[in-house]
């Protein structure tokens, strides 16, 4: 089952505008990550936020995390046509022995930035 669920499923904006995508999850996490996928390509890691962090920045990306609400948001500022892609949040889990690590991805938000 999906751990993370992105909202909205699709978002269309004009170049220069900001884009905000949200992710909700169900169980406690160690970290939450955001990935981008351009059409026909593999996913690319964007940013990781730890469970004890509330906000993190990387270039034009801003990620927030609210563990009490089990939610995260990804803000892309001053968007460009090249930002057109699908964006996925991913939550992590270690097994009880601490030897195996895996991610659970949401279904993604398709962002279209119009020139």
């Amino acid at each position: 089952s999906q751990q993370g669920e992105e909202d909205p499923q699709a978002l269309s904006i004009q170049e220069g505008e900001n884009a905000t995508m949200n992710c909700s999850y169900k169980t406690s996490i160690n970290n939450l990550q955001w990935y981008r996928q351009n059409s026909g390509r593999g996913l690319v890691h964007l940013i990781l936020i730890r469970s004890n962090e509330r906000e993190k920045h990387s270039g034009r990306l801003r990620v927030t995390l609210d563990t009490s609400k089990k939610s995260s948001s990804l803000l892309i500022t001053a968007s460009r046509a090249a930002d057109t892609a699908s964006y996925f949040c991913a939550t992590d889990a270690w097994n009880s022995g601490g030897s195996n690590y895996k991610l659970t991805f949401g279904k993604g938000t398709l962002l279209t930035v119009n020139p």
């Binding site: 970290n31 990550q33 026909g40 996913l43 030897s99 195996n100 895996k102 991610l103 659970t104 949401g106």
Partner: protein, 114 residues
Amino acid sequence: DAGITQSPRHKVTETGTPVTLRCHQTENHRYMYWYRQDPGHGLRLIHYSYGVKDTDKGEVSDGYSVSRSKTEDFLLTLESATSSQTSVYFCAISGKGGRYYEQYFGPGTRLTVT
């Protein structure tokens, strides 16, 4: 480029035939993962490996098996392909230098089962 390749990139096969997809890495990452991506379902974990000969099941492992006989190769086998296994398959790697969290993805294999 994280030094990860997948082969073949595209494959069309008939129902009931065995299919093996290969993931190859050159970066000595400990962890390797196989996902499938389908419309409406996002990315789902099939199997993963945390070392040579060490593998575990993901959430959609039925109908799939894996093997990892050396660090650089992780094979995904569909013993008897079904139409429901038509999908895009992605391999991912992580763990080099203790960086377990970030996963690096291959370019994907588009599999069609007719």
